[in-house]
Each structure stands twice: as structure tokens, then as C-alpha cells.
Subunit: 181 residues, 2 copies
């Protein structure tokens, strides 16, 4: 058996595994396959390169490369004399994991916080409204307790993301080797 063939097989296995797990990043398998291909490619790639490599349209490459750069899984590269845009996979997986939180979870925290604040204010005014009957006020009190609880939860989550973003998490759960950070 040819060595090159064997080499490709080992790569394909990893790429396929990435493709089947990238839903954790909110991306579809083919986008994962694209990322995996870029990860093993030691040179930056153009959209046309990817089109050829993956047998998909340039339009697809364009949109999925955008999705990947939004999550900072891929970044633009520069090479003198090349007019086309070049892209390469970011090589820091720890940072990619952190970026996922920064981008996706932080947004969710923010959206929830806004809703909770609004609803809490309305519920407070409701329990202070003398025209509202007692039974409704009791329900409102229950809801207030729930919203205070999840507000605290999101506040915790926010601090958790801080700990990732600041890299303090590595003091608590250290990396195996210290070549990074």
C-alpha cells in the first residue's frame, strides 16, 4: 500500500470526526469538513482551492468560510503576490473553545439579561399595583423568585466566561504543556 494513501486515510478519519462533532459550534458537517481540510493543509487556501479540494461550489465555500471566521476558527492569511483572499485554520484550539463562549454564550447571556430585567420590572410594578387581585400577585411573586434565580445564574455564567476570556481558567485547569499562552 502506498504511504500517501495511508497518510490520507489517517487525515480523513480525523476530518470526519471533526465534521460529526462541529455541531457543538453550531456548524454543519460540511463546514466541519472544510475546517478539517484547512487544518491539515499547511499552506493557506483560496476559495478556489477549497472548491477543488472539497468538490463544492465557490458560493458554498464563501459562506462557510465566513461562518468559520465569525467563530474565529479560520483567519485570513496574507502572501505576497497573491491577489485572491487566503484563509487558514487557526491553530489554537484552546482559544477557539474560549471564543465559542465569548461569541455564542455571551450573546445568549446578554439577551436573557435584557428579558429578565424587563420582566422583573413589570412584575414588581404588578405586585405594587393596588388594583391587582391577590391571587395574581402571588403568582407574580413566584415568577419573581424564578427570575431572580435565573438572573443569578446568568450572572454566574457571565463570570465564568470572564474566567475563560482572561485565561484564568488555565490556572485552575492547566494545560499539559506550557508552550501555549
Amino acid at each position: 500500500m502506498d504511504g500517501t494513501e495511508k497518510l490520507n486515510k489517517t487525515r480523513e478519519r480525523i476530518i470526519e470526526t471533526i465534521a460529526q462533532n462541529i455541531h457543538l459550534y453550531g456548524l454543519s458537517p460540511s463546514v466541519g469538513r472544510q475546517y478539517g481540510t484547512m487544518f491539515f493543509h499547511n499552506e493557506p487556501l483560496t476559495l478556489d482551492d477549497m472548491t477543488e479540494e472539497l468538490g463544492m461550489s465557490k458560493t458554498s465555500m464563501s459562506t462557510s468560510v465566513r461562518a468559520l471566521t465569525d467563530l474565529k476558527l479560520v483567519e485570513r492569511a496574507w502572501k505576497k503576490g497573491v491577489r485572491k483572499d487566503l484563509y487558514q485554520a487557526t491553530d489554537d484550539w484552546y482559544q477557539s473553545f474560549i471564543d465559542l463562549f465569548s461569541i455564542k454564550w455571551r450573546r445568549s447571556i446578554s439577551l436573557h439579561s435584557v428579558s429578565i430585567r424587563k420582566s422583573l420590572a413589570e412584575l414588581e410594578s404588578l405586585v405594587n399595583d393596588p388594583t391587582v387581585i391577590e391571587e395574581v400577585k402571588q403568582d407574580a411573586q413566584l415568577d419573581i423568585a424564578k427570575l431572580v434565580y435565573i438572573r443569578d445564574y446568568f450572572e454566574w455564567l457571565d463570570r465564568l466566561v470572564d474566567v475563560f476570556e482572561s485565561h484564568d481558567i488555565f490556572n485552575f485547569v492547566p494545560m499539559k504543556d506550557s508552550s501555549k499562552d
Copy 2:
């Protein structure tokens, strides 16, 4: 304006926010809406209750309740004299966040680890094979370095999940109030 109406509005806002962010748990908005409804419902619900509450088919309720229980966002409840299955939202959001990691990320870590181990073994045998040409061996060496790196990353991720599962994370990022855990 009626107080009940106002109360419902505050709930709807939160439910809708949950629905629009539950994709972080790999669930669709309507499943999120179902969870939100259960969260505010102070009594356990049957599938028929949910059908009525959400105006969706019983089949949908059945499948999505399963998805929610798989992620431990919903659990079965018991009530004497009631033959139908009862479900209620779990009330510990911190634990739900942790369970997400235990269930989804741990699985991904495991799948990646298997693939990496296999591919690494094959690459090692390739570089030790005297019939393989030098150039391929050099490529293999590059791949080995990459795989060792991501193996270390997943090993770190595994320890990170440990820290969540064991609740040690709360020593590092404490909850606001100490009524939990």
C-alpha cells in the same frame, strides 16, 4: 389592563428568549418553548397538557420531551392517582449547564480521542516503515505533531469537564448565593 394578561406577557418574553437561545443545547426553538412553558408551570404536566398548552401534536410533545430528558432539562414526576406520565422542568440551571458538558462535550471528546489514537498509531507505523519514501514521512511527522497537539487539547477539555462535573468549578467561580450545593 388585566394583571393576568400582564403576568403572561412577562412569561412569554422569557419563554421566547429561551426558545431563541436553546440552540446552544442543540435543540430547536419549539423545544425551547416547551421547556419554557414547563419552567413556569408550577405543576408537572402530561403530554396532553402540553399538546393543549402549545397547540402541537402529541407526537411532537413525546419526541421533544424525550430530547429534553436526554439533556436532563426535564425529568419525570410522580403524582398519586395519575396514570399518565408527568414531566417537569428541572430547576437547577447550573446543573443543566454542567450536564450539557457531561453529555454532549464528553461524547465529542471520546469520539475524537478514539480517532486520534487510531490515526496516531497508523502514522507512527508509517514513519517506521522502511519502504515509505522520505517525503511522505516528513508529512506524517507534521501530522503527528498536530495530532499530539489536539490530543493534549482534548485531554485538557476532559479535565475541564471533570471540574464541572465534580462541582469544583464553584470553588473557582462561586455562585452568588450559597443556597445551592
